[in-house]
Symmetry: C2
Subunit: 418 residues, 2 copies
């Protein structure tokens, strides 16, 4: 057997034609056998043999819709595609204040979704019960046979030791430190499970089915209660040496002095995230700088970032100023990241992302003004288009990626071959 070290260092794991063919079909299918021959350089015979085996194993399907041949004449191609409905993935997106659980197919498409407001700091015991209930509902309502659940993916709002599936001292998740989530889920549902930081998961979701599908190096920035980033490097999630890469919420902002719970002053998160926007709006209301915000404050006794979004829709100048200001600060940090990382795409997501276009405009302006000219050449900055679902999609995609990773696929194909 291959030891893990050699796999990692040398990326080698036995005769791999079958795995390569499967991977092509899964990732860029539907595709004809002829095109696989062209893509791989394998012979027609080899492709024929392996696709036959993959079909028998139920890993791929022959698509009904036939495809015209390359010229005007000739036999039509039969397209092969990944059998994405041959199993299920459970996707869990746990936020600071919300829980979503989805039933997905093997292409991370959402089949059914349950969600509710929860407080993550009410602790793992309570939350895990909620998760179990949702999963049971999804299984029953959709007639899922349990042995067809191939894996579970989960995002949590804090750093995670990915390989072990353990949350690590998450400040907003008291009581969750080193709770063995991976084991708990694996044992309960008898399938592999994968836990990661929610922002990382969202980045994976954008890569799999969002605006980043054709980008190899990009940064997903989540703006919500806090601010964090997910980093995709050469098409793969980059976690960093301790799993906390992308933790940009505590980068300091020029000239800001506000004390952050982390102990430093002027952290991006404390001066620009949702709560900061809400706080400033409240101050503006109190100073009577905005009639709309004042009326909200009087009516509800408090102002949220969402209210500021409503104010912007009404063209409230105070709200616009507050959001612009947040955008500038986030843009300041983003421009530094752009200089350092030279991504081809920045995605803005999270609960505050859609507060109004002033936010992303301010970010763009700041980045394009302050980053190196070469670094911003061809750089795109976009809002997430599946902001609500991308956590679920990403959690499922992460599980799928792991399950069908190089080594596992090779094993699958060749375990069967005897």
């Amino acid at each position: 057997m291959l030891d893990n070290d050699s796999k990692k260092i040398f990326g080698w794991s036995g005769p791999a034609a079958g795995a390569a063919i499967f991977r092509i079909i899964k990732n860029i299918g539907p595709i004809s056998r002829t095109d696989i021959v062209k893509k791989t350089g394998l012979s027609k015979s080899t492709v024929s043999v392996h696709t036959k085996k993959l079909l028998e194993m139920g890993l791929i399907k022959e698509s009904k819709s036939k495809n015209k041949s390359v010229g005007s004449v000739g036999r039509n191609r039969k397209l092969l595609k990944f059998a994405k409905n041959n199993g299920y993935i459970i996707a869990i997106d746990l936020g600071a204040t919300s829980l979503n659980v989805g039933l997905c197919n093997l292409d991370a498409e959402i089949i059914d979704l349950k969600g509710k407001s929860v407080l993550v700091n009410s602790g793992p015991k309570k939350i895990m019960v909620e998760i179990d209930n949702f999963i049971e509902e999804l299984i029953v309502n959709n007639n899922v046979s349990r042995n067809k659940i191939f894996g579970i993916g989960m995002g949590v709002p804090g750093p995670v030791e990915f390989s072990k599936g353990l949350p690590v001292s998450p400040p907003i998740m008291p009581g969750w430190h080193h709770v063995p989530l991976k084991e708990i889920l694996q044992d309960k549902y008898n399938c592999p499970s994968f836990i990661d930081n929610d922002v990382n998961v969202m980045a994976v979701g954008e890569k799999h089915a969002g605006v980043a599908q054709n980008f190899s190096n990009f940064i997903f920035i989540k703006i919500g209660t806090g601010i964090g980033a997910g980093i995709i490097c050469e098409d793969k999630l980059y976690r960093g040496s301790k799993g906390c890469a992308g933790d940009i919420g505590h980068i300091s902002i020029n000239g800001e002095e506000e004390l952050c719970p982390c102990g430093n002053r002027g952290c991006l998160e404390i001066v620009a995230a949702g709560p900061a926007i809400a706080k400033k709006a409240k101050e503006a209301a109190k100073k009577r700088e905005s009639d709309f915000l004042l009326s909200v404050l009087n009516k509800k006794g408090d102002i949220t970032a969402k209210d500021v979004g409503e104010a912007i829709k009404k063209n409230d100048s105070s709200a616009i100023e507050i959001v612009k200001n947040s955008g500038q600060k986030i843009g300041q940090v983003t421009s530094r990241l752009v200089n350092f990382y030279n991504p081809s795409l920045i995605i803005i997501g999270g609960g505050v992302a859609n507060i109004g276009n002033y936010l992303i405009s301010a970010i763009k302006e700041e980045v394009f003004r302050h980053s190196t000219s070469l670094a911003v050449q061809d750089l795109e900055i976009e809002l997430s288009k599946k902001n609500e679902e991308v956590g679920i999609i990403g959690a499922a995609a992460m599980a799928v990626n792991e399950i069908y990773s190089h080594d596992n696929v090779t094993e699958m194909v060749y375990l069967d071959s005897n």
Copy 2:
């Protein structure tokens, strides 16, 4: 033949046992056949056949020093190692003010080295002649037969379009824009050549033979005339989408207003690199804050960063303050990078790195104070130990890495097999 796309996406390139075995021997040799069997999971017979072939081809050698067997009894192992002296690599390290050309073996070890002061902005025509002269000298002096030159690696002080080997609009390299260095060298010396940014090259050098050999994710920071970073991500150089990743010299510093030629204010490079240190030292001298610096100024009419280093050796408090201040600023930027990238190592190199320990202490202090606690857990910050040679080593290592990359090795092994 495999098309390039599929190679990149699927990492697949035909029967690879021979290549895998070669790679193991090259990267972690000397190693016995038995250990290769354990590492790869291949059968003894397969390893035997391929090592035999690799020996015949001269790609590997049998080491003379014998290795005891695992238990107390049994036949001794014969160790196999990469035949690193079977060919040569020419390594070129072009700096803003210096040129070094080295003759290296296939393990990027320096056999002979030539260097002189040149000004890169005197243009490619002049410099390329200097390079050619050095190469000729090295070839003649060391009795190198020209067909044994397997490749050329070169670092230049500015961004490079790596795949084409073209410098890109480098501000400090007027006249070098899009000069086809790769082609020129390839055609002249009839071997593959690889051009990259000097900082990237140095990072590769640290990974190959410097302090970073056991680190998978680290940042090399070069402090000299400018400030730049080389990023290693999962053991590989990360170049970014436009090849300008690591361009941290123009990240802005809190509270600094000095105008940078780039158009922005308070850029790290303009307030903390070698020239900034020299400038501040001159001001201090003029203000008569330091006798030593004043005497230097009077003697030479100018002060360089090197002089400041000398002042520090004499415990000059002005010089110490100036260098500490630079360290703080570099540390400020570094701490942001640490939060974002979560590396396990930061290496400080370049001409100014050894100006005195106050520099790295200040950097360390800043990083450990301002970065997230999880991000600095296990983080090491070290000076480069081969500061002078690491550009040459890295240029050679880059060439070697490319020449013996997965695809090329596979080809080599299997071209021979018919």
